[in-house]
């Protein structure tokens, strides 16, 4: 997967992972992919719902040693 930008949101609690994700999405173009790392347990459901409501595509999620990783493709 071609990742354009990576965002480290580990150690941050709600709402910061989404606030930062939203900001980072502004720096990439439609069709490009943002990789996000977060440790907040709520991040998974929230990022999934946020991506959907914002017209973005959640391509993949992964959990690695307590760190949740997300790959979101920016929508049009």
């Amino acid at each position: 997967m071609n990742v354009t930008k990576t965002l480290d949101a580990t150690g941050l609690a709600c709402p910061m992972p989404i606030v930062k994700t939203k900001k980072a999405m502004k720096d990439i173009e439609a069709g490009e992919v943002l990789e996000i790392h977060a440790t907040d347990q709520g991040a998974k459901a929230d990022l999934t719902a946020w991506a959907k409501s914002g017209g973005h595509e959640l391509l993949q999620t992964e959990e690695d040693n307590g760190v949740f990783k997300f790959w979101i493709k920016k929508g049009e």
Partner: protein, 376 residues
């Protein structure tokens, strides 16, 4: 800018007093649909916080100007952000619910049920956000705890305040919806921890086997806790008759519903156990016993003083689950169209067996959501 907080204790009082409150729930729609703060006179709006990052202008018209508004999220971070935005928009009665739904899930409200015959007291601990009920029987300097939650400090501190020593801790069955604090309290206080052996086949720790007909006394005034084997929700489910007045039914019989037999995996095998317990064993008991269950599902089950308690005779008249004459119909009701199983119920059972030891944060996540131990 600082925003006023509202504690879950304050919200509990509003629920119990039927006060009004406008709840702005900023969790995802799924989380809100699954489980929310329930109150007779509460009004609701659900908008995820991430839809409000650019401003709250769009929802301002949907919020009351003259009522208290409590913003709630999962843990209290996002609600604070949204509440701050509302204050900036000129709303004055806006509060952020401190600790969010996690705190709501963990809050225990101790309510005195009654005095016991020989000078003791009986308390019900209402876990209002999750519908779990636990009990403390106090008599002459001693206390027994039944079906404790994992918030063990609440019981230990409560006993300390009353100046009594916790001597016996019971679980009516191996719980699947919440993590028991029984073992921890017993370790901490030196109390005996009792479990029905039929549910404890796989536990990894020592316990005191609780058998049908056992009597345990609390204090030297002989508050009698009489174990009554009542399988059905689990194989080992055991009820207690306390002080000849109270019937603690665990997850077998609730006020407006009955226990479900499928959470330990054997719905078909245990249907008839459940029926035998409800329709025969309980029927032989006095109608005057006050039923004290381990759960409630809906706010309607709370009495005016906040307790969850009803006469056994009244339940035999009014509880639908006790009034199904046809065995096949009963079997269908408790095995088909069941509500979803509680969140992480397998992991919760393994934790209660001592097989896994999740940390506090993990335990919290496992218990999120409603309890769903009943069928109506």
């Amino acid at each position: 800018m600082t925003v006023k907080n509202m504690t879950v204790k304050e919200i509990t009082n509003k629920v119990l007093n039927n006060e009004e409150l406008f709840l702005l729930d900023v969790r995802t729609e799924d989380a809100y649909q699954d489980w929310k703060i329930e109150g007779e006179n509460f009004a609701y709006l659900n908008i995820p916080y991430f839809d409000l990052l650019d401003g709250v202008e769009e929802i301002v018209d949907q919020l009351p100007k003259d009522k208290e508004i409590a913003v709630v999220c999962a843990k209290g971070g996002s609600s604070q952000m949204v509440a701050e935005m509302l204050v900036e928009e000129g709303f004055e009665n806006v509060y952020s619910v401190e600790g969010g739904m996690k705190a709501w899930s963990e809050h225990l409200e101790p309510i005195k049920v009654n005095d016991l015959k020989d000078g003791g007291e009986l308390y019900q601990f209402v876990r209002i956000g999750k519908g779990c009920l636990s009990y403390m029987v106090v008599s002459n300097g001693e206390a027994a705890i039944i079906d404790s939650t994992r918030m063990t400090d609440v019981y230990v501190d409560f006993a300390k305040e009353l100046g009594v020593k916790i001597t016996n801790v019971f679980d009516t069955h191996l719980h699947a919806d919440h993590i028991s604090g029984g073992r921890k309290i017993a370790e901490q206080t030196g109390a005996k921890y009792w479990l029905p052996p039929e549910d404890a086949g796989e536990v990894t720790f020592d316990y005191q086997p609780l058998r049908d007909g056992d009597h345990v006394t609390v204090g030297n005034t002989n508050i009698d806790i009489h174990a009554l084997y009542s399988p059905g929700h689990t194989k080992g489910s055991t009820s207690f008759v306390v002080d000849d007045q109270y019937l603690m039914t665990g997850d077998i019989l609730f006020i407006d519903s009955i226990g479900r037999p499928d959470l330990a995996g054997k719905a078909d095998d245990w249907v008839m156990d459940l029926r035998e317990t409800l329709y025969t064993r309980y029927k032989e008991l006095s109608d005057e016993l006050i039923v004290l269950p381990a759960h409630f599902m809906i706010m309607d089950e709370l009495n005016e003083d906040g307790t969850v308690a009803e006469k056994l005779g009244t339940l035999f008249e009014k509880n639908h689950g006790l009034n199904i004459d046809d065995q096949d119909e009963f079997r269908k009701m408790v095995t088909e169209n069941l509500p979803p199983q509680p969140n992480a119920y397998q992991e919760i059972r393994e934790t209660n067996m001592g097989k896994i030891s999740p940390d506090n944060e993990e335990q919290r996540e496992m218990e999120i959501g409603p309890n769903r131990c009943a069928v109506r």
